[in-house]
Symmetry: C2
Subunit: 276 residues, 2 copies
């Protein structure tokens, strides 16, 4: 059994990104919009700013207070759309409930949609076209590639069908020629599927949802869960009982998590390249 | 075993569409562009025109000869985009090879994309939003509904992963709470999946690909194949050996086929409603 080291893979990706930026020879900017003072969101935004700094992306933070009106947020997005130095635009979610998130996000120029959440980028993904893929699913593929884990012809099971993880990773694995099953809360016997696969991706947001008895021998297990309990982080996979049966497993923290921000940087560079 | 009668369901849908059109009280137009003189395409276009006539949709045929230049086709699309009487625009595929189909299709206003092939409509589908769903997958759901075949919690297997059938029907079944597996040409043991499911959708374009020994008892089998051999139509399913094991099965012809054009009419009415 090998533990997949997301920090190591992430660091190597950032080195590549630095070099790409150097050879691009352009100032590349990423706009990050934060509304309100949610503590977790503030931490995420700070992490993104630090990551930008590390690789040499210019970050443009736009901080709005809790009561900011929709129109001023939209105006900022429109200004970023028009700013030729800004190649990526990101609105930190969740937004305060009184705001219409879908409406606000719809103003982002799809070509600057480095989160890959827009209909345009999602449509390209479904059609199998080259696109800005949302960061977590893209990070999972990078981890598999970094450890030379074959995907083609393999049985993959994805547990969870969210728009930002479950459905995109299912499509990406399908594109890589895996036979893919998507399970979810309405699946009657999840273990029947999880026991009998080569690659298992779990993204349900429930601490320890997958236990040792639900996994077969030699499975590659990718744990996307980030569950905070008493200030500690836990995955969707019960590491202690599952790990002994795996060929590879991602830990939480230190597995998929570190890849997500790095893929945001990668998408920003890709958007900048596409623009030329 | 019950044979699903696509002609009957299609006729009932067309009655509903007629009534919707009457209550809408508007002239609703569908533009159909045909390039060249492919015999099959001419038949399809004629069928679509007749179907429009039957329900009271005004069809606007645009016939281009084999050597029509790209620009004149695009100009026609742009004019249709701007014509307020035209709510749906359809380019009959395949286009002559020398033309860039993706480029030409990209000019269709996504809101008038009644084939549901655009990135915008595909993105909405992936995100689970209400959208213009491509006609064949939508027709399959209508058949299941017409026969009160439950989908939620069921095991569904889709064989084939095309952009116009396999991937969209997988997403639609997932949205209806089925547990969905997508198999394809790189799947190692297709029978392992097809034998062990409640709903089997086959869209591979190979005559008789699924045989009786590949199907379990009481399966609902949806055959999307249309394979022409010596002027006769055959499905992807070997009807004679598979039908005795099914709870329901669609024949070819007369199953999914009749639904496709009807869903085009339905999408056109939907686009007209959305526009108001």
């Amino acid at each position: 059994m090998e533990i997949i080291d997301g920090k190591k893979v992430s660091a190597a990706c950032r080195e590549e990104i630095k070099q790409e930026l150097t050879s691009l020879g352009k100032k590349v900017g990423l706009a990050v919009l934060l509304v309100g003072n949610d503590k977790a969101s503030e931490i995420y935004v700070r992490n993104k700013e630090n990551a930008c700094k590390e690789v040499g992306i210019q970050s443009y933070p736009f901080i709005f207070d809790e009561n900011a009106d929709e129109q001023s947020i939209i105006q900022t997005i429109i200004a970023c759309n028009q700013n030729p130095d800004i190649y990526g635009i990101l609105v930190q979610l969740p937004l305060p409930e009184r705001l219409d998130a879908a409406k606000i996000l719809s103003y982002i120029d799809p070509k600057k949609d480095v989160d890959g959440f827009s209909r345009y980028q999602m449509g390209k993904l479904l059609l199998g076209e080259d696109c800005l893929v949302s960061c977590t699913p893209q990070g999972i593929l990078q981890l598999l590639d970094a450890y030379h884990i074959p995907v083609a012809g393999k049985k993959a099971v994805v547990v969870g069908r969210s728009n930002i993880v479950g459905k995109p990773i299912a499509l990406l694995l399908l594109q890589r020629n895996a036979t893919v099953t998507v399970c979810h809360s309405k699946t009657e016997n999840v273990a029947e599927y999880t026991k009998n696969c080569d690659i298992l991706v779990v993204a349900v947001g429930k601490k320890g949802f997958i236990t040792g008895d639900m996994v077969g021998e030699n499975t590659v297990v990718i744990d996307v869960g980030i569950n905070r309990v008493d200030g500690k982080l836990f995955g969707d996979v019960d590491f202690d009982t599952v790990a002994p049966k795996c060929s590879y497993i991602t830990p939480v923290p230190g597995g998929v998590g570190p890849m997500t921000v790095t893929m945001l940087l990668k998408n920003t560079v890709k958007a900048a390249k596409n623009a030329h």
